[in-house]
């Protein structure tokens, strides 16, 4: 049954191992889900979620084509974002329960140096310039790191609401750039360089603005006195 749907260019080894790897992945997922069903405490369930994510990776990788490899990458990133978000939710819920002066990012020392207020301009500038030079997903992460450093270390409170809206709008426009670049790849393949740069710069703006937004929201939510 399986043999009829496999394309001819999949190596014979992968298609011969497909059933084994698929059942192995399903068994691992089953074990992980049993563990989740038996646990009561939230942090333990979060750790076991990791296991189900690994099983998902096996099931996707068992296909053995380039597309399956390309599908593993967003799966991993989404799993990472999910675990990050849920762990923050658990921590902040516990902080609300305790309701005393616990800081969100505990520091061993009270750092009050001049360099913390003057240097971030320079560091953020360098990081953003380097991120723009890199472009793409990596460049977006580097530039976003620069924005986060700027936002978190400078103690400027109360960013006007239209700045937040503007960052969101940049994110949306860059998403459109990315989609336009992708469509150009298929409709006008001779302009591949243009579409490549549209996609890369769109992704740069998208990731940088998203990471910057996370930094702004963290400061607004937890830096409040």
């Amino acid at each position: 049954m399986v043999a009829s749907v496999i394309p001819q260019f999949v190596p014979a080894f992968y298609s011969s191992m497909y059933t084994t790897a698929l059942y192995g992945g399903l068994i691992v997922a089953f074990i992980g889900l049993i563990g989740i069903a038996m646990e009561k405490r939230d942090i333990q369930i979060l750790i076991l979620t990791d296991l189900v994510g690994l099983a998902m990776l096996i099931v996707v990788a068992a296909v053995g084509t380039d597309l399956s490899e390309a599908l593993i990458l967003p799966g991993l990133v989404v799993e990472l974002a999910e675990i990050m978000a849920i762990s923050e939710i658990l921590i902040s819920r516990e902080m609300r329960k305790v309701d005393e002066g616990t800081s969100f990012t505990p520091m061993p020392l009270k750092i009050d140096m001049e360099i913390m207020t003057t240097a971030p301009n320079f560091i953020a500038l360098i990081l953003i310039a380097y991120g723009v030079f890199l472009s793409g997903f990596t460049g977006g992460a580097v530039a976003g790191g620069g924005i986060v450093i700027y936002v978190l270390s400078r103690k400027v409170r109360g960013l006007p609401i239209f700045v937040l809206d503007g960052v969101g709008a940049i994110s949306g426009i860059s998403w459109c750039l990315w989609i336009i670049g992708f469509i150009f790849f298929f409709l006008l393949p001779q302009y591949w360089l243009l579409s490549l740069f549209l996609a890369a710069l769109g992704l740069l703006l998208k990731v940088a603005s998203k990471i910057g937004l996370i930094g702004i929201l963290m400061r607004e939510e937890y830096g409040r006195k």
């Binding site: 080894f13 790897a21 074990i31 979060l46 750790i47 096996i58 991993l76 990472l80 675990i83």
Partner: protein, 86 residues
């Protein structure tokens, strides 16, 4: 010289063993031990990805595994610090 099937089976066995160790292994009431046990399963998945020639996926898996472990350790230590039931 290389029988590729051996590595897939080894990876599957490691993943299975690691997941069993994570769910029912000794001392998993402690969340730190449970987190470290998931590493065994992730090494098994790395072997499978290596056999399937998925270089990018393998590199991303290694990077995200490290970050996930750091996030989980931070969450565990913060929750224990605040005296939550972990």
């Amino acid at each position: 010289m290389f029988n590729l099937a051996i590595w897939v089976y080894l990876g599957l066995a490691l993943t299975l063993f690691g997941s069993l160790a994570t769910v029912w292994g000794p001392g998993v009431k402690d969340p730190v031990i449970r987190t470290i046990n998931t590493e065994v399963a992730s090494v098994g998945v790395s072997l499978i990805l290596l056999t399937y020639n998925s270089t990018l996926a393998l590199l991303t898996l290694i990077a995200t595994t490290i970050i996930v472990t750091l996030i989980l350790f931070r969450a565990i230590s913060r929750l224990e610090e605040m005296g939550a039931d972990v």
